[in-house]
Amino acid sequence: MHMKYAINRGDELPEESSYHRSLKRKIVVTILLMSITPLVLISGSILYYLEASYKEKAVDYLKIVVMKHRDEIDSFLNERLVDLKVIAASHPLDRLVNPDFLEAKLQAMHGAQSLGFVDLGVVNSEGAQIAYAGPFKLGRADYYDALWFRRAAIQDSYISDVFMGLRGLPHFIVTVRKESNGRTWILRGTVDFESFNALVHGIRIGETGLAFILNRSGELQTEAGPLTVSDKKQAAQVITASATSMTEVRVIEKQDREGSPTLYVTAPLKDGDWLLVYRQNARDAFSVIYRARTIAAAVFVSAFTAIVIVTVLIARNMVQRIADADAQKRLMNEQVIHAGKLASIGELASGVAHEINNPLAIIMEEAGWMEDLLTEEDIRGTANYEEYRRALEQIRAQGKRCKGITHKLLSFARKTDPEPKDIQLNEIVEEVVSLSRQRIKYGNVTIASHMQPDLPCVQASPSEMQQVLLNIINNSLDAMEPDGGNIGITTRTENAQVVIDIEDDGPGIPESILPRIFDPFFTTKAVGRGTGLGLSICYGIVQKMEGELSVASSVGKGTVFHIRLPVSPDSRSD
């Protein structure tokens, strides 16, 4: 039976899959949703606020840098203007038109680090240059049509945009208008474009940060440097599109042509004529954020992976346990069904046994009746008389055998008393002894009982206890046939146990078979006389009562059975 279950179990385990697989999937999805969702929400919001605050700080810092830079450039331009104003104010025109004097002034203005001005020139109201000092052979150039001259003629001072001019090089000039003796003239100086560029370009942060200047129409006022044509165009677009008022520091973020976000910080120069633009790749400007993002992503990915792995492991483990429990449940169900089958077989058997008893009784009585009749009829003298007798004797003997079988069947199939109760073993012993009296009398056996008067109760089923005692006593009686002998039954208490000793002075049990006497179907009786179930049933009953059934025997001296049963809890507390 056990082996059958083991095989069944092995067969059934692999086919649990489809239900358990979907269960596993559900568990995995649920746990993942439950754990990943808060992870995403929390880390996402933390990252978002962290980025926002860091960006604000970074932008603020850029603004300050750009503003300071703007101030520097502004003050550079102002210094140039003041230089010219001082020269124009402190010297009369006739001295300034002297090229040597002008040259001397130009040399005097060359500072330690920068040239300041590349050249100086004086232009009359008609746009004709009347004096020049500098490296270019400009001589008496006519600027009447030059854009800057038109502007310079109507303003006290003027700083031009960058233009190519007569020299064919990008430059810009600073002019101061002066009136003396009814004549208007203009002192003009070309700013050292290189040092100006160096000044503007001096602001470089990170790898991509660079500064340049644009005029109102978006034209570059400094050297292009690393800027490409498309860069310039884009920058111009950005500025003209978004910087409608050229008055304050502004920050604009825009995708560049390649799609990477670019940061523009703009500050107005020259009363809004020019715009200082600081351009940096956002990735570069916010490199800390991007690094943090990368780290966060790495952490997130590893956390996600860990969660997934753990979830799958947990789900697998849980489902395995559920599958095991299911398998066990199925097994138990099978066992319950099996037990139910056994029970109904038992009921059937006992019903059949009962039904057989009546006809069997009739058969045996009829046989007995025939025997009765045989004793008195004339038939006594006939040839077959002995045969008749023998046949009837056989009928009786086989009937008895049937009776033995039906009674065995009944006792085997009998339902045990539903509940064990507190019983006094002395009473049971007396009952059993009195039940056995008939056999004792015929078997030439004396039975002596020594009962402990105040024997505590035990928890047991009375009918089962009776069965155990009767079986052992019957075995003793069988063993002592035909010579007879003595049986002693003692009840006593030992270590919170009630002990019954059943002792006989029969032939004893050989040592070789002693260990096997409680085995089912083991019998020494002739075929048909014993089923070999008696003692094994007794053993099971005593064990079920949490007791112990043991035997000691020596050949020629006798056998003693000990039944030990725990004292009932109610009785113990007395």
Partner: protein, 148 residues
């Protein structure tokens, strides 16, 4: 066998109550042959009716009969004739039924099929006992169920 046949006692009125007709007949014949005065009843109610009309020393009662339960018959008989001795003789025996019967006043309990000698032994013991004392039937049990 000789002993029982020889010693049929003076009071030996036996009532057999059992719905197994053939069994009752053969048992009646065998007991009669051994000197008992046997009356037969083939159902519980018939047994009670007959017992009301006539005195019996011993009544043999089956436990399961079609019209009545043997224990019920036992109860009624004991109530009607307190000094009647009842022996339960049944094929549907169990230790519980035996105990119940003894508790209700049955003098002995035998399970079918049983040896005639055994039955006669029980009947005689019960009758003898009735003369000695009318109480303490408990100590007089025959073997209830040898195979127990």
């Amino acid at each position: 066998m000789n002993r029982t046949r020889a010693g049929a006692p003076p009071e030996n009125n036996v009532l057999i109550t059992d719905d197994e007709v053939e069994y009752v007949r053969v048992l009646s014949k065998r007991l009669s042959k051994r000197g008992f005065e046997v009356t037969t009843a083939f159902s519980g109610s018939e047994g009670i009716r007959i017992a009301r009309q006539k005195d019996f020393d011993v009544a043999l009662v089956d436990l399961k009969m079609e019209d009545m339960d043997g224990l019920e018959v036992l109860k009624i008989l004991k109530k009607m004739i307190p000094d009647i001795a009842v022996i339960i003789l049944t094929g549907h025996g169990s230790a519980d039924a035996a105990r119940e019967g003894l508790k209700l006043g049955a003098s002995d309990y035998l399970s079918k099929p049983c040896d005639l000698e055994e039955l006669i032994d029980a009947i005689q013991r019960v009758i003898r006992h009735k003369h000695v004392t009318d109480c303490n039937i408990q100590s007089k049990h025959s073997q209830v169920d040898q195979s127990l």
